[in-house]
């Protein structure tokens, strides 16, 4: 455990001190200021708009952290051979994968928590400026939505870790992760369209099979998008939270095991 924990900790430290993170933070502050200004332009449902924009900002900035910091934390090890320093210690290849994933997950949790607290300021201010007795906005659903964003980002990072276990440059990992993000965010909608059976639209069985294959193989990232529920204060069934959490844990476990198995065979000349 010491190997995983020590590697996770230095990975987290390396990530939190990254200059790119400060750049992302400045962008987020700007976006929150824009959110506060934009909501003033709306006549009603200001809180809904503020919550929606704030959650979108957290999700987007989290994605930037995964793509520009998370990937580098792993691929740079192989690019610049810092991996020699790690796996020449009593750390197995499997522990290396788990340690890196732990470090990136810690970074994402801390960043999302920080951004979540920061994002509640424009939401709170909009609540103050537009007192609506019929408002259905609920803080606990808003924070569950933030937790789900963190879960989505950690899941995406586990895929990044998997890709980095066999790619030799960070660029390839970046391209594959972006592709996975796009597919994972849209596959549910595409599958929904396929099942809707729109009149006059013929879909060949081969295309339908490919869509279904993609849907089941790639992570369903839209399951972690609770912006609508948070903005409208819609109730979240506990069954949904539980099943999505199980899906999340299961997918990460598969990615970590697959990454570890590939890493075990890999050489670092």
């Amino acid at each position: 455990m010491n190997g995983i924990w020590s590697l996770g900790y230095i990975t987290f430290k390396e990530g939190i001190k990254s200059r790119a993170l400060f750049g992302i933070l400045i962008m987020v502050l700007f976006m929150f200021a824009v959110t506060e200004t934009l909501t003033d332009l709306f006549m009603r449902d200001i809180v809904k708009v503020a919550a929606d924009l704030s959650l979108s900002t957290i999700s987007f900035s989290g994605l930037l952290i995964v793509l520009f910091i998370g990937i580098n934390l792993l691929s740079k090890d192989i690019d610049k051979k810092t991996i020699y320093m790690v796996i020449s210690r009593p750390i197995s290849r499997e522990q290396y994968i788990l340690g890196k994933l732990l470090g990136i997950a810690m970074l994402l949790i801390v960043c999302t928590l920080f951004l979540g607290i920061l994002s509640s300021i424009p939401v709170y201010l909009s609540k103050l400026s537009y007192e609506n007795p019929q408002s259905i906005f609920k803080w606990h659903i808003y924070f569950i939505a933030i937790a789900f964003i963190a879960m989505k980002l950690i899941l995406l990072s586990s895929i990044t870790v998997f890709f980095s276990s066999f790619t030799s440059t960070s660029f390839i990992s970046l391209v594959l992760t972006i592709a996975t993000y796009i597919i994972g965010s849209t596959s549910e909608v595409v599958k929904g369209l396929l099942e809707a059976k729109i009149e006059g639209v013929e879909i060949s069985p081969a295309v339908a099979a490919v869509i279904k294959f993609v849907y089941y193989i790639f992570p369903n990232l839209s399951a972690f998008d609770l912006k609508i529920q948070a903005a409208h204060g819609l109730a979240l069934p506990s069954g949904y939270i539980l099943s999505t959490s199980l899906y999340w844990g299961f997918y990460i476990a598969i990615m970590a095991v697959a990454g570890a198995l590939i890493m075990r065979r890999r050489e670092f000349p």
Partner: protein
């Protein structure tokens, strides 16, 4: 039991997108005893770093076996016995030397007070104490090399594997590293190191091996095999000439 033993160690690299093979090591058999300082000589591309990487399980041999204190290096616990300094070490940019050594100690299951004590002792000895909280990216080449040595030594390993420890150092840096290796030798550590600086190997090592194009050309007992007026450098040059030079 030997500290390090290789038997018929062979490594063949395949070039990407072609069937061309490069034989980096040809049936290398070596025995390095406990407490011995062993120098590994050879021109660039001779197979020195390949051997070291196999010893640390960074790469695997195509054939042959390797043991460290009688155990296979693929067992991660074996690496608790080993301290490794890579050639041109590169560490995480934003970490400080103190954090780097915390990682080194923690990964070897050292207790926090022991890590703190050993960190201060090593950084003092390697003259990095004033810079221990600075990020490693602000270090000079010599300082990075010394930080790498501190990482290799944090858990007080029995065996040290140093790949070109003097490479790129200025004269002062070389003297510091030289003195440190000398001190470790006096402490009875087993030291396996590769270097191009033959004079240092001659002064530090009990035995040395000359490796050319993956072949072990000669094993030299530094104290007994060097005759009047003969130096390691002259032997090395003769062996390189005799072997027909280097492959392309």
């Amino acid at each position: 039991m030997s500290a390090i033993e290789t038997k018929s160690l062979t490594k063949v690299f395949k070039k990407d997108f072609s069937k061309k093979k490069i034989i980096a090591l040809k049936s290398l058999s070596l025995k390095i005893e406990e407490g011995e300082v062993f120098g590994f000589l050879g021109p660039n591309g001779a197979g020195k770093s390949t051997t070291i990487k196999i010893l640390l399980n960074l790469i695997r041999p195509t054939s042959g076996t390797v043991t460290i204190m009688g155990k296979n290096p693929s067992d991660k616990n074996v690496r608790k016995l080993v301290g490794y300094l890579p050639e041109n070490p590169y560490f995480y940019d934003h970490l400080s030397a103190k954090e780097l050594l915390w990682f080194g100690g923690k990964s070897c299951n050292m207790a926090a007070p022991a890590i703190r004590e050993r960190t201060l002792q090593l950084l003092e000895e390697l003259e990095l104490i004033d810079a221990m909280k600075r990020p490693l990216r602000s270090y000079s080449k010599g300082m990075v090399q010394r930080a790498g040595l501190a990482l290799a030594l944090i858990h007080d390993p029995q065996i040290l594997i140093l790949d070109e420890p003097m490479s790129g150092l200025d004269p002062m840096g070389r003297i510091k590293v030289f003195n440190l290796i000398l001190k470790l030798k006096e402490e009875g550590k087993t030291i396996f190191f590769s270097s191009h600086i033959l004079h240092d190997i001659e002064r530090l090592c009990d035995r040395a091996a000359i490796l050319i194009n993956g072949d072990l050309i000669r094993l030299i007992d530094v104290k007994n095999d060097l005759h009047q007026g003969e130096t390691l450098e002259s032997i090395f040059m003769d062996e390189v000439k005799r072997s027909g030079g280097l492959r392309e």
